[in-house]
Symmetry: C2
Subunit: 278 residues, 2 copies
């Protein structure tokens, strides 16, 4: 089987390494000539080019570009494809991508491998990045079952745990567990900045330890990534944020009323619930 | 110098171990006969008793009981003390303790060694627990300087970094970096519970990884400890919670308005600010 990978960054490059090591013929495409060269040098691909023309013989193509570029990339590919080609992507938000791409190409399967590192680019690509990671696939009613089966088999082959759900369920679930934590964690740091007594602020900075640092970690991450989450998954994120504000208001009210019995009930419930997530 | 320690739990027991290893004569008092026995067996104290009578010859006494018991313990000690005895405590909230205890005993110095482990009790006591930890002292205008100097010297001797501030500044600073994170982290878990679509909730539980787990960690901790924080430091915690709600509302508004430039400014500021804390 011949596999095409468009976008040879961390995800595309790592996927290429894994697939080639499992005996597939892997063709890579990237906007940068230099990236194509590196992909060949590290043995991630058999061939690489800045032009997508030579993907016409691929059986499956993984679009591993940034989110914004997924639909434009598909449009660019279409004139070169044979009608049986299966296309999948690795974008972190699924509803808009799947809506657009399914209309453009019947055998399109939305995908989201939930793996990554702090680094980016082909230089950060490494084998077994997806080993043990969740890999969400979001086929719709119109997706041919053979297409989602093929992508599922490949994801399993590289050691990922495949989960199937609707694009909407995916986006709401990642809003809860990934995008909402970033926003509430950022709000914690932002709130501290509003402490008007500079002695207290300085003392807080000196005394901060693991509790503060863990809770604020994802809120101190890459700002561009945070903006992308909010922009691309705005509706689901806002739904989670409204629910969160409701929970916060309830907690504030309980503390204002000094209802310590109710507070203990809430904290007992959160202690128990967390074990289902972590 | 002779040192008395009332309350031989994790903090009192660890303090006793450190002080005795540095050549002090250490007398321990605990409500439980068994705890006194263990303290003697592990070499934490020279003598231990369930009665405070024999602390009359101590130069400095550390009250290491739970917060509720600090003032009652001081009242119980007073009839047995010589007037030069310096008393300090290790309670995690300082304003009410210092107000009450300073009126009862002139040479009282509020203290808060910020060290701990997940375990509790004399069995968890260990040497060097305070090495490199912050140790806040909160002397007031009426505290004799010789008293705070003595406690400071001892804290430095066990390897802690001593910080001096007012009881009120301490309480507000720990509200920011310790008590507020617990409440916003608990609200995250609580909010997820309000997801009405059970498929999404189940998917979120399967997909949760380090981002969610770090942000929710302190919100999934000991419920009784969370209630104590809110009850004993209610005023400072509410002040931080109101400021936090303000920051959250601002972030929600920015996302509703799709003001991505402003969101990037906020997230850039939180990324930079966090490095001052962590």
């Amino acid at each position: 089987m011949r596999i095409g990978i468009v976008g040879l960054g961390l995800i595309g490059g790592s996927l290429a390494l894994d697939l080639r090591s499992r005996g597939f013929e892997v063709y890579g495409v990237d906007l940068e000539e230099r990236t194509c060269q590196i992909a060949i040098e590290i043995g991630a691909v058999d061939l690489a080019s800045i032009s997508p023309n030579f993907l016409s013989t691929a059986d499956i193509i993984f679009i591993c570009t940034p989110l914004d570029a997924i639909t434009p990339t598909l449009k660019q590919l279409i004139p070169h494809l044979s009608p049986e080609t299966i296309i999948t992507d690795v974008g972190s938000v699924k509803t808009p991508i799947v809506q657009e791409c399914s209309q453009l190409w019947t055998s399109f399967v939305g995908g989201h491998p939930m793996a990554g590192t702090a680094e980016q680019g082909i230089e950060a690509a490494k084998p077994d990045l997806f080993l043990g990671a969740s890999y969400v696939l979001t086929p719709t009613e119109t997706t041919p079952s053979i297409a989602s089966q093929r992508v599922e088999e490949i994801a399993q082959l590289i050691g990922a745990n495949v989960l199937m759900c609707s694009p909407e369920a995916h986006d709401q679930a990642v809003a809860w567990i990934s995008h909402l934590p970033v926003m509430i964690s950022a709000s914690l740091i932002d709130a501290c900045l509003h402490e008007t007594d500079s002695n207290i602020l300085q003392l807080a900075q000196q005394l901060a330890s693991s509790g503060f640092c863990d809770t604020s970690r994802v809120g101190g991450g890459n700002p561009q990534l945070g903006v992308m989450m909010a922009r691309d998954n705005r509706k689901a994120l806002l739904r989670s944020l409204f629910e969160y504000r409701h929970s916060l208001n309830q907690l504030i009210e309980v503390i204002e009323k000094e209802d310590w019995e109710r507070l203990e009930q809430i904290l007992t419930s959160t202690q128990q619930t967390r074990t289902k997530f972590c």
